[in-house]
Structures are given as C-alpha cells and as structure tokens.
Symmetry: C2
Subunit: 306 residues, 2 copies
C-alpha cells in the first residue's frame, strides 16, 4: 500500500518514519518546510527518544509530485488542515484519508475535499529538534474509525490500523471513534492551555493541587458536552491526566501548545477549548472555564503582534 | 508634619516626591533598594510623565535612622507589608499609618504593629525607570478612612488627606473606605492577571470582546463578595475598566502584575484574586473564575523556579 503523511511535523514524522520500516508500505510525506523535506530526502527521517528509528521515504513540498495514494494521514496543526488537504486531495481521489490531529473539526475540513474519511486520534507525541530529526517523547495508542458523514469502509480502516500496529504504533480500528477522540480533546483542552499560560510541563501542572482542580473542572465541562451529544467516552480523561503526570511517563513533556507559545506560533486553542465551547453552545451546555482559557490564549497570541 | 513613605517603589515615589513639594511637610522614605535610596539622597526623587516633579527628601534603607513620624504611608507590594511595618513600627509609636497598597489584608498586617491604622486605596500608577526616577503613567484619586479594628481619628485622617491633596494627589477622607478599596481590588483582580497572563496592556485587554466578557464575569464575582459583606461600592468597577481602556488615559499602561511577570517577580495575586476567593469563602460566595486566575498566575510564578 502507498501512504502519504500530510504534514510531517512531530506527530506526522512518527507515522512516516515508523511506517517506512514496513516492506509492504511505500511512504510519502508532504510538508511545507523545505529544510525538513530536504533533510528527509538526503539522510532519512530520524526518530530518537522513546524509539530510535531512521525511516527512508520520499518527502516533498510540492503536492503535484505526489502519486495516487491508498491512504492519507493528515497530521498538520488544525488551522492548516483545509489548506493542506486542498493542495493534496488529487493524490487521494481513490484513497481514504485519516486525521490523527488535535481537536475537533478536522474530519469535517478533510471531507470538503475527499470522499472517504477516517476519524482518528493519536497519543504519541514529540517535537522536531532539527530538520529531519524528531524527538519521540511519548508512546501511546491510536484509534481510527469511519467519519460519520463521509465514511471510509471498515475493511480499509482495519488495513491501515494493521499497518500502523505492525510498524510499532499500536492502532485500533473501531466503528465509532468519537469516544476516543473526545477523550483526547478533553484531556488536551484541560491541560495544554494551562501549560501554555503558565509555562509548566504536564507533570508540573498536574501535581499542583490548585491547577489540578482547575484541570478537573475543565474535564467536567467537556464530559457534559459529550453527554449532550450521546458520545460515550472510551475511558475517563482523568486517567490520562494521572498518567501524564507520572514522573516516568510524560512529566517533563511540554504540551504542543506550550511549544507553540514559546515559538510564538498560533495555537490550536480554537479547535480544543474553542471546539468544546462551540459544541457546547450547539447542545445547550455551559462551558465558562473553557471559554475563559480560550480567550486568555487568544489574548496571548494577540500580544505578539500588537 | 513628618511623613514616612514605607516602600518607595512606583506608587510610594508618587507620594514621596509630591508631598516633598509642601513647605509644611517633612518627607522621609524607607526602601530596601540601596541604589534607589542613594539616588534619591544625591539627586532628589524625579517624576516624569503625567507630572514632572523633583522631590527633595531623606531616604534610607536602615529603619533605625527614621525619626518619629506623624504619619506612615505604606506602599510596598502586599507580600512585603508585614516585614516592612515590623522594621519601621518604632517610627510610628505616636503616629497613624495608612496603606495605599493593592489588595485586601494590608491593614490587618499593619495593625499587628501599629495602634492607629488608616485604610486606603489609591489610583495613581507608574513604574520605576531608573534609581531615583519614576515614570508617572496614570493620575487618579486616593481615598482614606479609619481601619475598623484599630481606627485612626477622623481628624488626623483629614489632615493627611488635605496634605496629599495640596501636594497634587487629590485625596478624600471618608468614614468607610471599604467601598473605594474593594472597587479597586475588584478592578485590579479582574484586569491585572488577564494582562499578566496574556502580555496585553489594560486597553488591549478591554477592547478584546472575549477578554472583556471574562473581565466582567470576574467583576461580578467580586461584587457578590462585597454584597455578602454589606460593603457598598462607591462606584461601579466597570466604569474604571471603561476608563482604563480609553486611548487617552491608560491604554498602553502595563498592569503592575504584568510588570512583575516580565521581571519574574512574585505577584500580588494572593491579595487580589486570592483575597476575593478568601473573603468569598468566608461569606459563602462562589468565585470560580477568580480561583482559576489565581491558580494560573501562581503556576506561572512557579515555572520560573522549577
């Protein structure tokens, strides 16, 4: 099978490099960073940390170079989904495209350009340390399933899950991936902006009793928004928070939103807390704390330009 | 009369330099910054901006040098009140001591060392630009009145108000200064941490509709805490916010808490939002947003040392 990673940042690189280990998978990567693309083509894509891997694959910043692919795996930041899938959609005219991104609303954007869409969520995390080199901070599961409005077939979803799992990224194919996705959205929305506003790592946020109370209050708002949509969470987001706070797991991991803030890049807060607020509003659920954090992070972004 | 300014930072300097203009007032200043003290003694204390003044006064970092004073005006950061008044109390054995500080709880700390205490709140603001030189950003009124548990006499409060007013700092003496004090506490608690977390000035915070909604929700919590204590606000804190947002007033003023954050100094959040939370808890009023902001700012402070 041929797979194209759309957006080869930290998470995209974890998929690209690991899938490139398989003999039966041909991996392409589309990314707008010409330095990263050049480094990957010259020396391969290197992961270090939780796993040490060098993946040999073909990377390009020119979407017209992409061949027809069986699968797309979109891993851009949420604010770049529409532009990235618009550029690359011709490669997926006969394929199915999965999102493994943060937040809610990405599958809707992909479905604007592609016929068969896979809803997905992934827990592995890392950061780019240099062009062609990604630090793999955290291992974890991936869950994929049909996107309700333009579903991929269960069979092709299972084939993708099998390839990812064999490549070292354990992946479940499920008929309803909303529970897993919202569990991660709730987790991210409850912890990332707190890290981004305070400069603290996941572990530091969670061991501070006042911040942990705030995190749990944010989780409760997210759970209420899920309940109003009849989405059954696959597990309690609180367990993820406890897990992330463990000193042997992700204690020192800076949330991607904190990485964005430190680099003064726009964050994904509109797709995390902002998404919870939007779905809450549609379903009559008040989400004052998520609204407050979204406003603070947007204000912080604004301070860089004003 | 002889007045000692205890804590000659931005606000203390505004009182010290202006009061030093009066022939019938002898001004002393106590401050822990030896550079600031030396500059004041050598060249006088200079204000520029909203008013251009050079005040000649006697400054010291050694509390034992202070003579007996008729009045103290404490203007330290709230976290330094107890230490500052403990050091200087001998100078006020026959005098009355006013607080013109931010937050709630300062008069209680002063009353631990002094017999006659004046509750006060002041709006002028500025920042130290160099030892001996303070930028005066914002003019405004001061309100003083007896502290209920160890009250100064109304006559001596009026005498101090008269001196401040003649010196160019309009000051009202009132029988109950709680309404003015809580108005400013509510204003500061609703705007300062938002500026501190986002890096935005007062004006930028207030013209952002999402942040302004948050600010108003914080104001509402503070008003509820006042109502539960039967404190009648002397005016609506919302009017202060509108005023501060005006381009010709304090639009570009960075809240003192943002100045603290940029300098990585501990903030006064425990005496602002933390004070509203404490009084709220004592009087059965929920203050979730103030609690949330206090936790975020304390987390930010923690990130500098961890």
């Amino acid at each position: 099978m041929r797979v194209c990673i759309v957006g080869c940042g930290a998470v995209g690189s974890l998929f690209a490099a690991n899938l490139a280990q398989l003999d039966d998978v041909e991996v392409w990567a589309y990314d707008v960073s010409v330095d990263h693309v050049a480094a990957i083509n010259e020396r391969g894509l290197r992961l270090s940390g939780a796993g040490d891997v060098v993946g040999h694959l073909r990377a390009t910043a020119d979407a017209a170079e992409l061949p027809r692919c069986d699968y797309g795996i979109v891993a851009t930041k949420a604010m770049h989904t529409a532009a990235a899938i618009e550029s690359t959609a011709q490669a997926f005219s006969a394929g199915a495209v999965a999102s493994v991104q943060n937040g809610v609303g990405n599958e809707e954007a992909i479905a604007g350009y592609v016929e068969r869409v896979i809803r997905g969520t992934t827990f592995p995390a890392g950061r780019i340390v240099a062009p062609g080199h990604v630090q793999w901070d955290v291992k974890g599961e991936t869950t994929i399933g049909p996107f309700e409005l333009k579903p991929a077939a269960m069979g092709e979803i299972e084939r993708l899950a099998d390839a990812c799992t064999r490549a070292g990224l354990p992946t479940n194919a499920v008929p309803d991936a909303r529970g897993a996705q919202w569990r991660k959205v709730i987790f991210n929305a409850a912890t990332n902006p707190v890290g981004a506003l305070t400069g603290l790592t996941h572990g530091q946020v969670c061991e501070d009793s006042a911040l942990r109370r705030l995190v749990s209050a944010l989780v409760d708002e997210g759970k209420a928004v899920c309940a109003a949509q009849a989405i059954e969470l696959d597990a309690d987001p609180e367990a993820l928070i406890d897990h992330a706070a463990r000193r042997d797991v992700a204690y020192g991991h800076k949330a991607s939103m904190l990485q964005d803030v430190e680099a003064r890049r726009p964050t994904e807060v509109d797709w995390l807390n902002g998404g919870i607020v939007r779905f809450g509003r549609e379903h009559g659920v008040a989400t004052p704390r998520n609204e407050m954090l979204a406003a603070l992070v947007k204000g912080l972004e604004r301070s860089w330009t004003s």
